[in-house]
């Protein structure tokens, strides 16, 4: 099966590969996997606490070219968006952009799941951080 030019481009020059500090309250981490093929994908975001804008996004994916391209594209797309805007990204958008064939649709699903997981982790951390800040003020 031939990969589309865009997949090949993301595969050869993946954007935003790397790691963010998992322990920071500004960072959300999503770790997801596709049982069908054994791929594993980690996507991290650093969110501006004032504006809720995703200022940085990093990923690390072990898997096929389509999984790498999907997560690379996902980090490009979410950067500069607010967390709520980023949640609007659908796997079908990724499929369209990368011209993924039907057997590789799950790679895009994985990328969407990773975005959601990272944002979910950030939200969880921050409601915790907010309450503890409130608790600290109350003292």
């Amino acid at each position: 099966m031939a990969y589309s030019d865009k997949v090949v481009d993301h595969y050869n020059n993946p954007r935003n590969v790397g790691t963010l500090d998992k322990s920071s309250t500004e960072v959300g981490t999503g770790l997801v996997g596709a049982p069908e093929c054994g791929d594993v994908m980690r996507l991290q975001i650093r969110v501006n606490p004032e504006t809720q804008v995703i200022e940085e996004a990093k990923f690390k994916t072990f898997g096929c070219g389509s999984a790498i391209a999907s997560s690379s594209l996902a980090t490009e797309w979410i950067k500069g968006r607010t967390v709520n805007d980023a949640l609007e990204i659908k796997n079908t958008d990724i499929v369209k952009e990368l011209s993924l064939p039907p057997v590789k649709i799950h790679c895009s699903v994985l990328a969407e799941d990773a975005i959601r997981a990272a944002i979910g982790d950030w939200k969880k951390k921050n409601s915790v951080a907010e309450t503890s800040a409130v608790a600290a003020e109350a003292k």
Binding site: P35, C37, G38, H106
Partner: protein, 229 residues
């Protein structure tokens, strides 16, 4: 491709017109070759679907049927019979290759029961959290990081003995894990082969998630073995 046809419907033999069960390669009455039957792979061997198969018996049947289907035997037969001997042989080979392999057999039987397995079905039931072995994700990720480091340092020509021994340990650990999954699968075979309808359904669910887990662990074993080689 998988065809599930009601094999209880009798079909008349093209030659002697005696009705027979559809999923046979030769007419039991006149022994003439039949067109490729529409039943499942199990029925090609006159087996009911089950998981704990006698592989010696399966192989014996395979050789027997292969010989009977050999194109040389149809050198003077009609054009139809010639075609069928080829088509039946292809079907027999597919059936044998699928059923003799324990994992492919399990996947095949689960597909017959309506389970959606494999990449082409991925992502459809993503809301079902049991599909992702969450406890394994973290480990899989960390191991992949170590493997990457190992490949890099191998390329540079110096390998860290600590990393080497960590990976040797991981290789053993995941091999053991694979054995564990396989014995869990075999336990579910027994439940499925011998259980009533509700316990069969339960076993099917468990096998789908065991196969998911197995695919993961199997990839890890493959990658760690390749990297250490």
């Amino acid at each position: 491709m998988l065809k599930v046809i009601d094999s209880a419907v009798p079909v008349p033999c093209w030659s002697c017109a005696v009705a027979h069960n559809e999923s046979i390669l030769f007419c039991p009455h006149c022994s003439k070759i039949q067109p490729p039957p529409g039943g499942d792979y199990f029925s090609v061997f006159s087996l009911v679907p089950k998981l704990d198969l006698d592989l010696g018996m399966l192989e014996h049947q395979f050789h027997k049927l292969s010989r009977k289907l050999h194109p040389d035997r149809f050198a003077r037969a009609s054009a139809n019979e010639k075609d069928w001997s080829l088509a039946d042989t292809a079907l027999l080979n597919d059936a044998y290759r699928t059923l003799r392999d324990p994992i492919r057999r399990t996947e095949y039987l689960l597909k017959l029961q309506g389970a959606e397995i494999g990449e082409e079905h991925a992502g459809k039931d993503r809301k079902d959290p049991s599909r992702v072995p969450a406890d394994l994700l973290e480990e899989a990720f960390d191991l992949n990081m170590q493997l990457e480091e190992m490949r890099m340092s191998k390329k540079m020509g110096d390998t860290d003995p600590q990393l080497q021994s960590d990976l040797e340990g991981a290789k053993k650990k995941y091999n053991d894990m694979l054995d564990g999954v396989d014995s869990d699968l075999r336990a579910q075979w027994q439940v499925w082969d011998n259980g009533d309808e509700p316990s069969r359904l339960e076993a099917q669910k468990k096998m789908v998630s065991l196969l998911d887990r197995r695919r993961y662990v199997n990839n890890l074993v493959r990658d760690v073995t390749e990297t250490l080689a």
